[in-house]
Amino acid sequence: MKARNAHPTLQVVESPAQQAPASPEAHVELTGVTRYFTRSDSKELFHALGPIDLTLTKGEFFSVVGPSGCGKSTLLDALAGLSRPSSGTVMFEGQPVTGVPDGVGVVFQEDASFPWLNLRDNISFGLRMAGVDGAEIQRRVDYAMGFMGLNDFAKAYPSQLSGGMRQRVCIARTLVLQPRLILLDEPFGALDQQTRLLMGDELLRLWRETSATVLLITHALDEAAMLSDRVGVMSARPGLFIDIVETGWERSRDSRVVSTPRFGEINARLWEKLRVESLKVMGVH
């Protein structure tokens, strides 16, 4: 399917990015979220993130790009309920997030497959832990394995698979749990460029089929530009949204958008903002 440019010009929210008050379709809402850490060596307090205000609407694909160490993963941890913000609130489906909420799935950059389980058992693990009945597990796992192209490897162990295949296993493991919010922390960071593009297509397919809200943390501007409805650009630490770019892609998009002029425009816009922040991280002003 050919991707079309739905909007002739980029819609850019100028910095600092401000969000409208929570709308009825707000799926995730962060208000004044900050995170401070205490350095273990000097006991000194340092400001890692925020304050962040962000609203994700239901079914939206939102990506976050930013220089290294700007707090992207810290933001994801707060959203997933893996850590509590120092101040501010995180709401998911109208409820405050105090631990990992039901309906949230996370795919990490690191290989999180269980090396002691074969591929099928890896994918069904979460369902078994949740006490889902056997027939339903089989149905969902069969679907996920077919969807991710893993049918030929059901009995293989992670050590027998490539990095890309293992990441597919982790995505399938998340997919079978039917999350309503999928958080991805640089899931393709360790993969080569071609595999990343193809995995991006699979991710878009998954997003379309599940109607889940997706938040993707990535280093790769092209990945963010290709996959997202909106891309948030974060500043160097403490991480703040300095720009939010609406891409205007149709929901039926795929990796072929990379050959459109608009893709180049979005990339250039993202890099313009990110370049300044990356130079700050490198100590060049």
Binding site: G99, E110, A112, S159
Partner: protein, 256 residues
């Protein structure tokens, strides 16, 4: 792959040639009288006399006693080491304070404490098992700590995202993730249990393989002594081979 397989086969062949060559050399030296039979009996004589001893059942009681003590010491040290390892890992401040003690533990000659064990536990199997446990438990503690340290952060986070209770996380994530490292600890603990039990029997016991070897030595029964030594060597080799086989299966899964 073929080159690798060839190298492995060549390595195994060289190893077998070295061991067999050494045994044949000793056999020739003994048979030619260069090594007197009062010093060392020929390996073939050790083997045939050993078969006779096993058939006659002369040392059955000693063998059974030692094996029970070794199994008991192995089980106690593996379980105790695992539980202590879990506890120490859960308390970082305790760990920081005792880690230097654990790392220098094997500098202590454990056997110097045998009089204390006799006074406290009396003569019999108990002090022997206690010394063997003392010798082997720390290796299991270290293996447990090492295994828990090496669980990838992403696995901890995955367990959190799946909202597993601490108990289910321990059983379904931590235990299988640490198993390859724990098994390395089990292998070493069993080896130390063997050393601890056999060596203790020389000084602390009226039965067991160690005692029987010492008794045969004191009474110039070279054939009994060397046959029992050969029996111990064959036994530890077999046990180690089985444990290594299981370990290799664990390690192959661990490789990422």
């Amino acid at each position: 792959m073929r080159i690798w397989e060839f190298e492995v086969k060549a390595e195994s062949l060289i190893r077998i040639v070295v061991v067999v060559g050494f045994v044949v050399l000793i056999e020739l030296l003994c048979r030619s009288g260069i090594i007197a039979s009062s010093v060392l009996i020929a390996p073939s004589a050790m083997f045939t006399h050993g078969i006779e001893l096993l058939r006659g059942g002369k040392f059955d009681h000693d063998i059974v006693t030692s094996l029970i003590e070794i199994v008991a010491a192995s089980i106690v040290s593996v379980l105790l080491g695992f539980v202590l390892g879990l506890g120490i890992h859960a308390l970082p401040s305790l760990r920081r304070s005792i880690e230097p003690l654990l790392s220098s533990y094997y500098a202590i000659p454990t056997f110097i404490f045998y009089p204390i064990f006799i006074v406290v536990l009396g003569i019999g199997s108990l002090p022997i098992i206690a010394i063997a446990v003392m010798l082997s438990v720390v290796t299991m503690i270290t293996a447990t700590l090492n295994g828990l340290d090496r669980i990838p952060r992403a696995l901890h986070k995955s367990a959190q995202v799946m909202r597993l209770s601490p108990w289910r996380c321990a059983l379904h994530i931590k235990l299988p993730a640490t198993l390859p490292y724990l098994f390395t600890g089990v292998k070493l603990a069993v080896a130390y249990a063997f050393i601890g039990v056999i060596a203790s029997e020389f000084i602390l016991s009226g039965s067991g393989i160690g005692y029987a070897i010492g008794y045969a030595y004191n009474n110039f029964q070279n054939d009994d002594m060397y046959s029992l030594m050969l029996f111990v060597l064959v036994l530890v080799t077999l046990v180690n081979a089985v444990l290594n086989r299981i370990d290799q299966r664990f390690q192959s899964r661990r490789q990422r």
